[in-house]
Structures are given as C-alpha cells and as structure tokens.
Amino acid sequence: MGSYVISTKQEQQELLKEAGFASFEDLFAHQIPPEVRCGELNLPEGLSELEALEQMQELAGRNRVFRSIFRGAGAYDHYIPAIVKSVTSKEEFVTAYTPYQAEISQGVLQSIFEYQTMICELTGMDVSNASVYDGATAAAEGVAMCRDRRRTRILVSACVKPETLKVIRTYCFGNDLALEIVPEKDGRTDQEALQEMLGADTACFYAEEPNYYGIVEEYQTLGELAHRAGAKYVLGCNPIALGLLATPAEYGADVAVGEGQPLGLPLAFGGPYLGFMAATKDMMRKLPGRIVGETTDHEGRRAFVLTLQAREQHIRREKASSNICSNQALCAMTAAVYLAALGTKGLSDAAVLCTSKAHYLQKELEGIGYPLRYEAPFFHEFVTRTPVAASRVLSALEERGILGGLPLGEKEILWCTTEKNTKRQMDEVVEVLKEVAKA
C-alpha cells in the first residue's frame, strides 16, 4: 500500500493519547453517528509507486501519439519551448494555493500581473482577469457579463466552435438567458440575418476570429451591427492569430475572450487549458474571477494583491459577478512564459508560419482534387471537400502515423497546420491523399 501519512503507527497512538482518545474508533465515535459509518471500501489494494506508475504507463501506452497532427478544431499542436516546461514545473508554483496571503505570494501575483498585461497587449483591450477554465467557459462568462435588466437575449454566430456553443448554451440554461443562433452563409455569419435578429432586448453578439472553419470574417461590420442595436460585441480570438490579425479592440469588441491552449499548453486530451478574458475599462467591474492589481506596502515597496474583490463570491456570496474561485493560474503562467519566450517578433513569426503552411497545404490539396469548401480568407484552418469518404482519407493517414483533419460529415475535412508541420510532412499528406483519391 502506498501512503503519504508521515506518522508511524506508534506516533499515531501517541497523538491519539495526547488528543484525549483511546483509539481512532474512540475519536470517530465522538462525532460520526454509527448509522452513517461505512464498512471497508471496495477498492483494490494500494500499490507502490513503481507499480502505480507501471499501471499508468500501461494506460498511456494504449493511447496513440501521432507523429504529425493536422487536426485543430479547438485544440492546437504547437511547439512548446523547453523553458516553458522548466519554469512551470517549479515546485513553488506547482504547489502553492490561490495567493490570498500577498506577503508570501508575490511571485505568483506578479506572474499573473504580467500575464494580464500580455493579454491586454495581445487583444488591445484595457483590462484582463487572471484566467478562467478554458476558451469555451470564457465565452460563456463573456456573454453573461453583457446581460442587464432589459437585455437578456444572446446572439451567437453559427460559425463558432461547436464545443464553445455547447458551453454557452449550458450557461444560458443556468442563467435563464435566451440564446439564438445567427445562421451561417458561405462559412461566415449571415450579416443580414444578424441585422434582423438584433433588437432592444439583445445583450450581445458573439463571434470568433478566426471562426470554426478557420475563416477570418468581417469583424468590423459585425461589431458595428451589434453596436447599432445597442448590444455589446464579444469576440473570441485565437491568440496566435493575434500575432498578425487585427485585434478585438481594433474591431470594437467590448469583451475579448479566447482559448489560451496554443500558448504553451499540451493537447492533453482536452485539458487543462486556459480561458483568457479581457474587456474595456467600462466593463472592468463585471469581469468574473480573480484580478491582480499593483499597490505598495507600508514601506512604499511595489506589491501585488488580488483586487476588486467586491465582485467575488467570498465577499458578495449570492450577489457575486461569478462563482469562480480556483481558475487556471499555472496555465496562465504557462502562457506568459510562452509569450515571453517568443517575444513580439516570435509571435508574429509563429502566426506567419501557421498561416503560410495552411495556404501551402490548401493549394496542394486543391491540385489533387480536394477543393476548398468556402471561398474566404482563412488563417491556419480550412475546410476541403473530399472526392472519397472522409473516413477513408483519414484511415489512410492514420496508417502512416498522421492524424488528419477533423471530418465534418463524410465529404468534408477541417484541416489545421501549425509551425510544427514541415513541408515534408505536408507533401506526405498530399501523397497519401492522392493515392486515396485514385483508388
């Protein structure tokens, strides 16, 4: 049996005696009524570390790690610099709690302050919170921020990621907010439909940059439509794309949210990831979750603290702006180290690499009978039609150790490239697909 209890059996007896109990049974009998005491748990016997790790390795071994990945759809296979892993495995960061005690938590607090600054720089927004659970919950919290007494209807583009839409829908079920989907037209939000659907009761409109199909939409126009109806504009954005593309602030967004996983977090079967949230100054006090601010101590030294806590659950209870307590602090630090490691130029380079490779692959695929589904500008994801069943295409790639794009039905595939996909890998995909199309 494995154990992390320090006291030996003899020490336990000493502690019991000093605490005034004859035995553990005596200790529990004082407190837990016999009718709810349980018998022995039906669990396997405990293991040594060596045995437990072997069992976990055996489980991990039954998952396939692909040598090249062309699938995104909300989880992106970017390179993670060595420094990122080195910094974020420091035990002080890993084993600390939420930094309630500022005097001995300046490291974590400063790292969050730096993260908030970077998110503001990336999105162009005024203020950022310290993170939420992931991009989907960030979007759900972002739209919920926009509700007021008169405006309780949420509009979401049909072109956002399905995982995000599901989460927004679920949060709306909780909040009793009405949710309506603005239909898609040629892979983009139908602007005419949006205009018709917006009304005096619309709290906000939510779209994604780029959208689920990788397409960069006309975000300026979308935002103007929302604002003209008095609604807020919430834009979900890919942080790597922001190395190149116009920012949510430049598009007039009131709230910018996104999935921070591309910033140094592994695919990890879907989590832990990172939800980032930033807003205009006007909406600062509606932001959910932790926020770190700069102040001084009594000697005038620079100090960082959790602040604007009057929004939060431990102060406001049922009147809080959100229930968030734990967030994704270590993932936020990961993103900050990643952004510092890349720097301004590196981030822009990463964006150029991602999108250039996507355009290369798209042209090559077009040439062998896999035409683009939507004629529209895209960033690093795009949808092609397939001349044969998508499942056949993907199986052929799988045999070669390649995770192909995500099938959207039987005749379309959503592809993704990152800086990790070399020309050679892409040419290999093209080779395989050419064969499949012929057969």
Partner: protein, 477 residues
C-alpha cells in the same frame, strides 16, 4: 522586484522557431495596427526572472500550509510523472476512439473508484474546479426538476456557514437563495430547516463536516426533511478529506456531490488552478450529467452522451491531466490507504486543537474532524490583537497562515486544517509558533499589527489597490 517587461533589451530573443519552408502567404484581411509589447529577453534572463518569482512564492513544498477548507496536503511527485507521459499529454481530444482507449479506461476506472469512495453511482469529470462542480451539480438538479415539470422549485437552501461559492453557484444556475442560521452547536438548525422547506424547494447545499470542522450528527434527518419536501440534497465535497472510508455522502442521503481533486486527491493547486471538480450523482440523475460518459463493452471503451444531458460546462472532457494525477493517487493508496489518509487528517487536527485550546478560544470546543476554528474575538476586545495579526505573524515563522475570517458565523476566525501529510514535529513547531505569537501579541499588540517583518513585502495597501486599480503594466512613453 523588476517586472519581466523591465528586463531585457530591444532585439534580444530566444531561438525557438524554424525558418519558413514554404512560400510566405498571408490572408488578405486587416492586420493588427498596434504591435504588441511583449518581453524581449534572452532565455537566461527569462529563466532567472521566474526563479526570482519562485523564491517569492510559498507552496506546500516550502512548508506547513494549514489553510482551512483547502486541504493543502503533500502533492506526490509520481502524479506529475504520470500526467507528463506522452500517451496522456500529447493526445488530441478529437482523436478517434480506438486511438485513446487508455485515456477512456483511465476515466472509467477513476469514476468507479471515486463513486465507491463517495457512495455515488455515476460521475462526470468535465467541471474544472470546485465552484464549477457546484454549478454543474445545481444544473443537474435543475435539469431533473425541469424533466418532472417542477420548474417552480426555485429555492436552494444554504446554511450561513457555507462556502461563498455555494450561493454564488446557485444564483448562476438560476436559483434563489434561502439562508438558514446554524444552531448553537454550529450544525444545521432542524427547526429552521423545517420552516425553510416547501413546495418551492429545489434543494439543500451542505458540506459535512461543515466549515467549522463539525460532523453534523443529524445528517440523516436533514436529508430526510429535504427529500420529504421534494427537494434534492447537494454535497459540497470541499471537506471530503475528513471522511474517506469513514462515511460516504451517498449513505448520508445526498443525491449529487462535487469533489475537489486538487484538495482531497492530492493534485497540486498551481497557485490557483488548474483544479478538477468532478460531479457525482445517484443513478436517477445519471442521464442528466454533462459531457461524455465512458462505457465499456466487450473490453472496448466508448464515449456516450447521457440521454437527457444538460449540455457541456467546459470544452471536451475536463482537466484531464489533473484527473490522471488523482487516479495515480487513488491507485497508490487503495483500500487501506484512503481511510488511513482521512483518519490521520482528523487525528492531526484534534491534536493541534487540544494543544492550543488553553490559549485560543475554540467556539466549538468538542472534538473536530479534519479542521477546527479558533476565535480571536476576545483578544481583539482586550488588547486589539486580531485574527489577521496572528495569521500575518505566522509568516515570520515560515508557516502559511490559516484561512482567516471564515466561516462568517465566527468572529475573528482562524480555520486550521493541518492534513495527514504533516509530521508530529511540524505540528509541534506550529503549535509552538501559535503559542509564542499569542504571548507576544498580548504583550505588544503593536508589534503583532506590524507583522510580518521577514517577508519580501509587508502588508500591502489593499484599499489603494481597489480604489485606483492598476491592473497592467504601462510602458513609459
């Protein structure tokens, strides 16, 4: 200390990315007009910057962390190693099922084991944290009530000793709150509960042991009252470390629960996350759970969506790597180790309580479960020494302060949770520190009010931080 933005020089960079090996081709869309200010540093500077920050951060690895309700137990290193295995860390959430059989089996196994520990029938791992679990559990109740046409049941009953997340989560799930006062014994006042329940009751949220560290002896009567009124019972699992292998929420009459894997199941807190807040329920609620459920047919694992699922509370399947760490922990402790952990958590708390009760007022002086609450109210009146002063003084002894000013029903509260992974020497040193602080503070309250003295900063000006928020760095022009 310098910010990362105040280090480095223009033009400094790491060597991370390769050159472009295809023609440059950018989409014809608006580019960003402003260049983002990001650090321009070398790898060495970056590494040293964070090493400096780490030195100003206090984790469980640095010392004793008796932060009540947070269960700051030791985080085994093998957990980290298991979660870093490429077979877990490098798999895409949308890979075909047959390529992630190990991941699905991990979810299946951990579900079975945690259901056994809690007396539940099914569990979802989608929620990312405790509060997220509460929200999910309440939505489960909401979906269930809706399916029965009982949408008029809008009220969630919450005792005044509850965690702040309870009422906040209930409101997010569209419920209204009925606060009920605790009885003189610190537990649920049965009369208040009976008066609070009715045809509009959706449910009750409770943690047992409660935030005073007391096991509510009337628990079966409490859950019976709620059930008879047609409501459901929600168990806040923040305090589960007190009862594993001793009592199960499912046997106490709870219908839905959340766990904090980052408390009870030894996964680290990461300075405030990522955590994991799985939600367990009885069989009749299974079909409403969010996300996927893993089933096993003929040795093959499949993902299925519950029939009347309430939806998704997070993309994909939750904080999967955190769940992997918890599974490693449960495998190691097993049948004997799980109850041993809770037993010793309770023992250590009782030992500390006994060794401090002659000096510090214990508002609920009987035995405690895994944590206990002291009050500095008398000292505050007598000589102005507050709970805050004692907490801050502990930092000068290299000890993380207990939870302060919580639960709200105890004035000048300090809530101490030592956990099972601390030695008698550590407990004795902490007891000694508490006693010395008490004596010094009584003699020299001003000095206690000026503590801590040995930390990188003294007490920060929180009023200034909130009045004139500086939430990001601004570059000098």
């Amino acid at each position: 200390m310098k910010l990362i933005f105040e280090r480095g020089k223009a033009g400094r960079a790491l060597s991370i990315l390769p050159p472009l090996d295809v023609p440059e081709c950018l989409p014809d869309v608006p580019g960003r007009k402003t260049v983002p200010h990001l650090p321009e540093v070398s790898e060495n500077e970056l590494s040293r910057h964070y090493t400096e920050l780490a030195k100003q951060t206090y984790g469980v690895n640095d010392g004793f962390y008796p932060l009540g309700s947070c269960t700051m137990k030791y985080n085994p290193k093998v957990n980290e190693e298991a979660a870093a295995l490429p077979g877990f860390a490098q798999i895409h959430p949308l890979q075909p099922e047959h390529t992630v059989q190990g991941a699905l089996e991990a979810l299946h196994t951990v579900e079975q084991e945690l259901c056994e520990i809690t007396g539940m029938d099914a569990m979802t791992f989608q929620p990312a944290a405790g509060a997220h679990g509460e929200f999910t559990g309440l939505l489960t109740i909401k979906a269930y009530l809706k399916s029965r046409g009982e949408e008029h049941r809008k009220k969630i009953i919450v005792p005044d000793s509850a965690h702040g997340t309870n009422p906040a989560s209930a409101v997010m799930a569209g419920f209204t709150i009925v606060n009920i006062p605790s009885g003189a014994d610190g537990c649920v006042d049965l009369e208040s509960l009976r008066n609070a329940v009715g045809e509009d009751t959706a449910g009750l949220m409770l943690t047992n042991p409660n935030t005073l560290g007391l096991f509510d002896r009337n628990i079966l009567e409490i859950t019976r009252i709620v059930h008879e009124a047609g409501g459901l019972c929600y168990y806040d699992g923040a305090n589960l470390n007190a009862v594993m292998g001793l009592a199960r929420p499912g046997d106490m009459g709870f219908d839905v629960i959340h766990l904090n894997l980052h408390k009870t199941f030894s996964t680290p807190h990461g300075g405030g996350g990522p955590g994991s807040g799985p939600v367990g329920c009885k069989a009749f609620l299974r079909e409403f759970l969010p996300g996927i459920r893993v089933n096993c047919k003929d040795g093959v694992f499949h993902m299925e969506h519950p029939e009347r699922t309430l939806g998704s509370v997070k993309a994909f399947y939750g904080n999967f790597l955190v769940v992997v760490k918890a599974l490693t922990y449960v495998l190691m402790l097993g049948r004997e180790g799980i109850p041993e952990a809770s037993s010793n958590a309770v023992l250590n708390a009782n030992y500390m309580m006994r060794k401090l009760e002659d000096l510090y007022d214990m508002p609920y002086p009987d035995a405690c479960m895994h944590e206990f609450v002291m009050s500095l109210e008398r000292q505050k009146h007598e000589n102005g020494v507050t709970a805050m002063d004692v907490a801050k003084s502990l930092q000068d002894y290299g000890i993380h302060p207990p939870t302060m000013y919580f639960p709200l029903i105890v004035h000048e509260a300090l809530m101490v949770e030592p956990t099972e992974t601390e030695s008698k020497e550590t407990l004795d040193a902490a007891i000694q520190a508490f006693r010395e602080i008490f004596a010094h503070a009584a003699e020299n309250p001003a000095e206690a009010a000026a503590s801590p003295k040995t930390t990188p900063i003294g007490r920060p000006d929180e009023v200034q931080a909130a009045r004139k928020p500086v939430l990001r760095y601004s570059w000098p022009d």
